[in-house]
């Protein structure tokens, strides 16, 4: 907890300092960065929470799922395809597709010993180009003017200014917390990540455990993609994923890989993303400061947590 606060303060201080060096007022910069609207913050926090869970579950099981981005896209594509069968079908399809896309990596690991760090990254690029092909080709809008799809026929219900995805995302966080700390599946999963040889000795089928963890992890990312489509964008387009998969790493590490902590951490990064967009509009400061802060947060978390397990 202390580490997380230190990491956040350090990152904000560094950004204020950098902005000051380039002639921006640090006070204005921070007030814009942290003063984004609550509704937009929540909208941004929803996908971040789910991709944060993606990373938290995978890292807890000791697998390197860097493929949140690709699983996010796979989930959105499946949700788009299944939307004609209704909202529930679309959401289920997104979870299944995310899990399936992640399972390619765990299959290759099991079958060919291919390191999942690399295969998940490559699957990101494949998914991005597959999406590019879809929105320029078979799924392009009927008027064929822009590289995007038509709007989906179903949408998540609105709850005031935000959509019902917020309930699903928080429910997913609680479910993951329950899974990790209150079920034997979660105990085996954590044991596998903590010490695979000891887990094996204690009778855990490590390879199957990794496979299931990867599928759960990918399912979260897929759901994030589905919710983003059905709640926010309603269409698919080339830059749909917008880095949510990679941001999830910062979200999960700030939460120290705890599913409930991820809720708080996602809210923080959601606020940052909102503020960074506002900075770019009103002060012409690059919105990549949000990426910068994610990086500094990860480094600070490593710095103060190197004796604890990441």
């Amino acid at each position: 907890m202390t580490r997380a606060v230190v990491a956040v303060v350090a990152a904000l201080a560094l950004v204020a300092l950098t902005g000051w060096l380039f002639g921006h007022s640090p006070v204005d910069l921070l007030s814009i960065l942290l003063g984004g609207s609550l509704d937009e913050t929540i909208l941004k926090a929803i996908p971040l929470l789910l991709t944060g869970l993606t990373i938290a579950i995978a890292f807890r099981a000791g697998v390197w799922n860097i493929g949140g981005e690709g699983q996010f896209i796979a989930g959105a594509l499946a949700a788009f395809a299944a939307a004609r069968f209704g909202l529930v079908a679309a959401l289920i399809a997104s979870v299944v597709a995310g899990a399936a896309w992640a399972s390619i990596a765990s299959l290759l690991r099991w079958w060919r010993n291919a390191p999942e760090v690399l295969t998940t990254i490559l699957l990101n690029f494949i998914a991005i180009n597959l999406l590019g092909w879809c929105v320029n080709g078979p799924l392009q809008e009927a008027s064929a003017r822009y590289p995007q799809t038509d709007a989906v026929s179903v949408a998540l219900p609105q709850l005031g200014e935000v959509h019902a995805g917020v309930v699903l995302a928080v429910a997913a966080a609680i479910a993951m917390w329950w899974l990790l700390y209150h079920t034997s599946e979660g105990l085996r999963l954590r044991a596998t990540g903590f010490n695979p040889s000891a887990a094996k000795f204690a009778g855990v089928h490590v390879e199957a455990q990794v496979f299931r963890a990867m599928a759960i992890s990918g399912g979260c990312a897929g759901l994030a993609g589905g919710i983003e489509l059905l709640g926010v964008t309603h269409r698919l387009f080339e830059r749909f994923a917008a880095g949510y998969g990679y941001s999830g790493i910062a979200v999960a590490l700030l939460a120290q890989l705890h599913p409930l902590g991820t809720v708080v951490s996602a809210f923080f990064f959601g606020a940052l993303a909102t503020g960074a967009g506002e900075l770019q509009r009103s002060a012409n400061i690059s919105a990549t400061v949000a990426t910068l802060i994610q990086a500094v947060v990860i480094f600070t978390m490593i710095l103060f947590g190197r004796r604890a397990r990441a």
């Binding site: 060919r112 690399l118 320029n136 990549t288 990426t291 990860i298 490593i302």
Partner: protein
């Protein structure tokens, strides 16, 4: 066309050579992307400041060295997880270069044409000189033997960290030249996220080449020719299938990783926390 392919794949090869050395010393550096991106920016800044492409290349090396030093500080000195450190380094480089570029976008540095080398000496350096020199260093010297031992069985070597820092230094020099070549010779300046995944492809080619320099050259050449063929096809095509073609190199790398190239044996202690 082959020559064009070879030229276009030159930064990739330099990154592959650097990563091969580093992985031989037992470290997996996912931050190549960060090193090349930082180098691309510092190379442009240095070249514009001095009106000299040669100084630009030195600036690129300095930029990559800064990114490399940050990675080394965490991964070697603080024993942090190498994969998380690499990802964080990439995010940092993306954030910093994006920020600086936006701040200075309108200034002459990023608008004026960049100075270029008259003759592209980097291509023969990358494809002939560097691989021979590195192969001799790794396989024919006492230092090379110790370096490889750091990757196989670090307990057997004195001063493991020093060897790993030197390997990282070599990688910084090579990725620095790679980033500078990308910005000054292959493009006309800096663009946001211009490395565009080359670092990750380099990582895969290292494995494809089975941590050997001959394999590195062969893998990069194959990849470069495939990429060039894809552009040629793209030019002939109506344009829709272009995105599927763009995915091909990644599918190919994925297949390579699955052992099309036969059994893969990595250095024994690769990626383990010291």
């Amino acid at each position: 066309m082959i020559l064009l392919a070879i030229t276009a794949a030159t930064p990739l090869l330099l990154a592959v050579l650097g990563e091969t050395i580093v992985q031989r010393s037992g470290i997996i550096n996912l931050g190549i992307e960060a090193m090349m991106l930082t180098a691309a920016m510092t190379a442009v800044l240095a070249a514009q400041g001095s009106h000299s492409a040669a100084i630009g290349f030195l600036g690129g090396i300095a930029g990559a060295a800064i990114a490399g030093a940050l990675f080394g500080l965490f991964a070697i000195e603080l024993h942090a997880d190498q994969i998380v450190t690499g990802v964080a380094a990439n995010l940092l480089a993306l954030g910093v270069t994006g920020f600086v570029y936006r701040e200075m976008e309108q200034s002459a540095v990023f608008v004026r044409a960049v100075p270029r080398l008259q003759v592209d000496v980097i291509v023969p350096f990358a494809w002939i000189v560097a691989p021979i020199a590195l192969a001799l260093l790794l396989w024919r010297t006492m230092f090379g033997l110790r370096l490889r031992a750091c990757g196989e069985n670090p307990e057997a070597v004195e001063r493991v960290r020093r060897h790993r820092w030197i390997a990282l230094g070599i990688e910084s020099a090579l990725t620095g030249i790679a980033g500078a070549h990308l910005a000054l010779m292959l493009s006309s300046g800096f663009a946001e996220n211009m490395v565009a995944g080359r670092g990750f492809i380099a990582l895969s080619i290292v494995i494809f080449g089975r941590w050997k320099f001959k394999g590195a050259i062969l893998g990069t050449a194959l990849f470069g020719i495939a990429a060039a063929a894809q552009y040629a096809l793209q030019a002939m095509n109506r344009g829709i299938e272009f995105h599927l073609l763009l995915a091909l190199p990644y599918v190919a790398t994925l297949l390579i990783l699955c052992g099309i190239a036969g059994r893969v044996r990595s250095p024994e202690s690769l990626g383990k926390r010291a």
